[in-house]
Subunit: 108 residues, 2 copies
């Protein structure tokens, strides 16, 4: 058994992506952010839908239509495949702990 809140690695000012489950059509991932943001001018444009929940910390997500979403612990949302988005803020203390599920999740 593991615990999502326990940080084993030294964070060293880098974002950490850890795969928890990796199957053909589904990936469960923990992401630890400590101040990192998506590089300016670039966007995430993903092949799969992503259901993501912020479990610790605070963060801001920006969509390409310029709508911004402030996230606090427990907030979750579905980012559809190819829905361009950027992370414009992540808290350092406490670190952001994200749980992300990647797959075919959106209703047709």
């Amino acid at each position: 058994m593991d615990n999502i809140f326990i940080l084993k690695e030294l964070l060293n000012n880098k974002e950490i992506f850890e795969t928890i489950i990796n199957r053909k059509n589904l990936k469960i991932e923990r992401i630890i952010s400590t101040g990192q943001t998506t590089p300016k001018g670039t966007w995430y444009d993903q092949e799969k839908d992503e259901w993501v929940i912020l479990l610790q910390g605070e963060a801001t997500l920006l969509y390409s239509d310029h709508s911004a979403i402030d996230l606090k612990a427990g907030d979750y949302l579905l980012i559809k495949a190819h829905q361009k988005h950027r992370v414009t803020f992540t808290s350092v203390d406490p670190p952001c702990i994200w749980l992300a599920i990647h797959g075919n999740l959106a209703q047709n």
Copy 2:
């Protein structure tokens, strides 16, 4: 956007199962337990694997080999399809908030 920690329903001493995402081969579900346990002598015996994380509260899981696992907030584990299990304890205050992902998750 929703928040996994916000309880909208009156709990009324019953366990609450809420579907967040429901696709052909994948279901994401929130479960709220407030003292409920699996009826004595019965076991969960599920067709799908279940990845489950306890996000709030404390709980105890029992496998059919009599091994018991005490869970606290943040603990997660994979229960394979047909791995018989029971919940023998769930905390009332705070209520248990579980996030469960049902699908084909185990490595072959």
